[in-house]
């Protein structure tokens, strides 16, 4: 089910933008993603326009956009296996504390070309620069990008499809109108997602805006999940009765004697 509702409402301004800068207006195709029993992921579309400052001429180099989408925060443990007495055992592990369960860095060209290393680090642009704090002893801190646990964590999350960096996901329809495709995988965690849109020109961030979306279970899925969480005993009892009923029906239907 791919509902691409094109909502392109570019009304007059939000008004809070500084007078000297461009205005950045974004709109999301769907703010509330509902997980129903046939949910297999959904592609959201973020539309936006850049309104140049009236007093100034249009910029020569054009604009660059980096859209960072972060899902609900989780604590995830990354474990490393080693051979102990001939058997592969998880021997060491690191907890990644309060890291996004979903993280997508979408841009119109590679982030390394958009701005310099210092700015990328300061503004957390790109997977390599996004803060992924680990608990190391008593401290909670991000490590260097080449830390084997960080590298493996990001790689595994990318293989699952929940972390991604795409330098082609943002496309400019005109020099001032853009769209960004946000792919939500089938096992996207439920909760609130934040969308951070950064506008760059000549390697410097000139405007920034945010949006949000929510992934929720709906209908039957929501009912089952709530029942399992809130009424565990009754839920277990109901599941058992269902099992016995199906077992009984089978024995009646297939009865030979």
């Amino acid at each position: 089910m791919r509902r691409l509702v094109l909502i392109l409402l570019i009304l007059a301004a939000v008004g809070s933008a500084p007078a000297i800068a461009e205005r950045l207006v974004v709109s999301l195709s769907n703010h509330r993603v509902q997980i129903t029993s046939n949910f297999t992921g959904e592609d959201l579309v973020l539309f936006g326009t850049i309104e140049p400052d009236k007093g100034k001429a249009t910029r020569q180099a054009g604009y660059d956009l980096v859209v960072t989408v972060t899902g609900p925060r989780q604590t995830l443990r990354t474990r490393r296996k080693e051979r102990v007495l001939g058997i592969w055992v998880n021997t060491t592990s690191r907890d990644f504390v309060g890291v996004p369960s979903y993280l997508a860095v979408l841009s119109n060209r590679p982030v390394t070309e958009i701005t310099d290393a210092e700015t990328r680090r300061r503004l957390q642009v790109g997977l390599d620069n996004f803060l992924l704090p680990q608990r190391i002893g008593p401290d909670v801190a991000d490590t260097v990008v080449t830390d084997p646990f960080r590298v493996s964590f990001v790689r595994l999350q990318q293989e699952r499809g929940v972390y991604r960096e795409s330098p082609t996901a943002v496309t400019f329809l005109t020099p001032a109108v853009f769209r960004a495709a946000i792919p939500l995988p089938a096992d996207a965690p439920t909760g609130s997602y934040e969308i951070d849109v950064k506008l760059f020109a000549d390697g410097a961030m000139i405007q920034r805006t945010t949006s949000a979306l929510e992934v929720i279970k709906a209908g039957f899925e929501q009912y089952v999940a709530n029942a399992a969480a809130d009424h565990g005993f009754l839920y277990g009892l109901a599941t058992t009765l269902m099992a016995l009923l199906i077992g009984w029906i089978a024995s009646v239907v297939f009865r030979k004697d």
Binding site: Q74, F153, L156
Partner: protein, 307 residues
């Protein structure tokens, strides 16, 4: 066709899961076991979280077992006195098992423990069954009658106190080994997401000398109640029972079991035990390979909490 599982939080192919239910149901009907020892690894392989799998196969096994139980009950092939004694041990085992499972989830070694337990249990049971059935087949070839009750085959635990006579099974044994067997099966069932029928049947035959006429029906009572208890306890303590997953598996399972039961009746007892032994052994070897062979990826991620 994909369907989203509300507790496992992921979509699965409904026909794939239905097919797994059918296959395992066929095997379970053929050998008179629950089939959890096959289903649990298969579902983990599909990518469903092991904790959800272990909790959700319990109701599926219960459904298969209930069908079988009704059939054996109509044939009066159940020793309820023996079943009740096994049960009183089994419930204690299940409660301990679910408690330990809940505790071990917070430790990183649950995967290792489950892997090792599978290798040891399936390996031992598989080897014993293959050896025993090979002997029986050889005896049958030489034209000798397989005699399960050899004189002097009584072992020490038959002389323990609290002896009881189980009329339908025509055995006279101490209830202490009966309780112990019940507790072991209940414990293993709750931790590994298996009914334990594949272990209970040989234990009853070789240790307690329960005759083949009542052994399967009686073992089904214990595994059925154990799986019902495990479902309710897992739902209450861990909230991990996926009813949608369980329902798809059940439908496949009960249908497969009917065809399996018919196929099983056409094969001689010792040959059937040989086949089951080989199957159990193969699953055990598969787990052993996983533990010993270098993994594709030395790293793995586990979800430990939400913010």
């Amino acid at each position: 066709m994909q369907i989203y599982l509300p507790i496992a939080d992921m979509p699965v192919n409904i026909f794939l899961v239905l097919g797994m239910g059918l296959t395992v149901g066929f095997i379970s009907g053929m050998f008179g076991i629950g089939g959890g020892f096959l289903l649990t690894p298969l579902l983990i392989f599909v990518g469903i979280s092991p904790a959800v799998v272990v909790a959700s196969v319990s109701p599926q096994i219960a459904a298969s077992l209930f069908t079988g139980f009704l059939t054996y009950w109509r044939r009066r092939a159940i020793d309820f006195a023996l079943a009740a004694m096994l049960l009183s041990g089994g419930v204690i085992g299940t409660v301990t098992g679910v408690w330990l499972f809940t505790m071990l989830r917070s430790v990183d070694q649950l995967d290792l423990l489950i892997g090792l337990a599978y290798v040891v249990l399936l390996g031992t049971v598989g080897v014993l069954m293959v050896i025993e059935s090979a002997r029986a087949i050889m005896r049958a070839h030489q034209g000798l009658r397989a005699d399960m009750r050899r004189a002097g085959s009584h072992v020490w635990f038959h002389h323990l106190p609290l002896k009881l006579r189980f009329k339908r099974s025509r055995i006279y044994v101490s209830v202490i080994p009966v309780w112990a067997i019940g507790a072991i099966i209940g414990f293993i069932g709750a931790i590994l997401g298996v009914g334990g029928g594949f272990m209970l049947v040989p234990m009853l035959i070789y240790l307690l000398r329960v005759p083949t006429a009542t052994v399967i029906g009686t073992s089904m009572v214990l595994t059925l109640v154990t799986m019902i208890a495990a479902t309710i306890l897992h739902a209450t303590a861990n909230h991990l029972v996926d009813a949608v997953l369980a329902l798809i598996l059940m439908i496949g399972g009960v249908v497969g079991a009917q065809f399996g039961a018919r196929a099983g009746q056409k094969i001689r007892g010792e040959r059937l035990r040989m086949l089951l032994g080989i199957l159990v052994l193969l699953v055990g070897i598969r787990f052993a390979i996983d533990l010993v062979v270098s993994p594709d990826d030395f790293y793995s991620i586990r979800h430990v909490g939400d913010m």
